[in-house]
Symmetry: C2
Subunit: 259 residues, 2 copies
């Protein structure tokens, strides 16, 4: 049905970033991440625990089945979660943008491959101490529950896309989701003319949408020819009219991923 993954991840590794420089108070995701509702002594405790890690675009973060030593928040960049079948068919099952949470408390093995799609900085916590703190800190557990419920909603929206949308609608939906989340970063509503950057390669988009690279490429070409999008290089896009794109996506009420 689709080609085995031939692409080899480059084996280069980034050393851990010099840890603990940044203060939580200055953190760009301070009020959106899992730590959002922690203050005072609790924030202090997290601050003590945390350490940063950086990954270059294309680097693996975790392999399915690996022991996980840490959980983490994405500070900057984009990471992906993918499932792989024995014969190499791959499906992306999660797209982690800044403030999203990576890892599952109470589970010591990764359920999916995690990969850096762009350069990524993670704010990590060792699993043991973090689990312990979660048991003692209700607002941390509540925040994580909220975020997980948002993830579940996003996953279900995504299932609708995978199961019932055409290739053209899938591409339009994907671009709309990215546009909305980039707009949300600047605290603006997505509307009118938008310039944006795709955070994924065509291959990763294909894995996200349950398509092949070729189909992704063809549909992008088609949307360009129909004036729905303009293409600027490999990753750059201009949306002359966001509403037009949403029309193409198959649903106006496009809920989509949590911001």
């Amino acid at each position: 049905m689709c080609k085995p993954a031939l692409t080899q991840i480059k084996p280069r590794r980034t050393d851990d970033a010099p840890s603990g420089d940044a203060r939580c108070g200055d953190c760009p995701i301070r009020y959106r991440a899992v730590c959002a509702q922690c203050e005072g002594p609790e924030l202090e405790r997290l601050e003590q625990m945390k350490f940063y890690r950086s990954y270059q675009a294309g680097q693996p973060i975790l392999w399915e089945g690996d022991r996980t030593e840490f959980v983490a928040s994405v500070v900057t960049g984009v990471a992906t979660l993918t499932h792989t079948l024995e014969d190499g068919r791959r499906q992306m099952v999660g797209l982690l943008l800044p403030s999203d949470f990576l890892g599952r408390p109470g589970r010591d093995r990764a359920a999916y491959d995690a990969t850096a799609a762009t350069d990524v900085v993670l704010c990590c916590f060792r699993r043991g101490p973090f689990d312990q703190m979660m048991r003692q800190t209700p607002q941390l557990a509540h925040r994580l529950l909220d975020m997980t419920l948002d993830d579940l909603d996003a996953a279900r929206e995504w299932m609708l896309l995978l199961g019932r949308k055409t290739a053209r609608e899938k591409i339009a939906s994907f671009i709309a989701i990215i546009a909305r989340r980039q707009a949300a970063l600047h605290k603006q509503p997505a509307q009118g003319r938008i310039e944006m950057e795709l955070p994924l390669t065509r291959e990763a988009m294909a894995d996200y949408l349950g398509l092949t690279i070729e189909t992704v490429s063809r549909q992008i070409t088609a949307l360009r020819q129909d004036g729905v999008i303009e293409v600027r290089g490999k990753r750059g896009l201009v949306l002359p009219d966001y509403a037009r794109l949403v029309e193409e996506s198959g649903d106006d009420s496009d809920g989509g991923l949590p911001d």
Copy 2:
């Protein structure tokens, strides 16, 4: 891409079941539902709050956008969550079996349609009191977090199915999931010869798997002709060899839905 939903839900309604008869101690899902880790006074408080509702097969439980007055655990039967696009394309996004939780704390509107696939009994809690209790009872919040994380894992497994599996693999995967969960109810591993009952119509299966009714029917016929399954009436199935079915499903390590 697929036909608008023409099926009309029969307008018959069941009155609420005589509430509060059953004691939590006798509940068949006592140690698997959201209340599993509550004891003593907490269980007592839930017991006071709870009320039962019954729905006949085919009845709607909630419409997308409805105000939700309660959250609930499925006690017996099977319910479904579905998303619908304006043009009528439908995708099931959740399959709720006994002990699964319905509803989202902290949200007052339903995000999807919920429907009784078979006759269903729910153990309900009014939203306000339940939310309040969740804020005061860490083990309740933790249990719900755990269950939500399981749901998220299941949704992601499902995404792999929707995005990358063939029709035949989808059918085999679905049957395997149901077989495993039915086996789990009897606390047995799924293996060898299994007799089972499909809890869904062909239409609901199609909505689950992102297929059409016709394709579902054809693939079941094909699996029957290949000796992978035997068909007993509309809903009955015999699996001569569970392992053979799993082979057909595309993945041996078939994680799937939480039990």
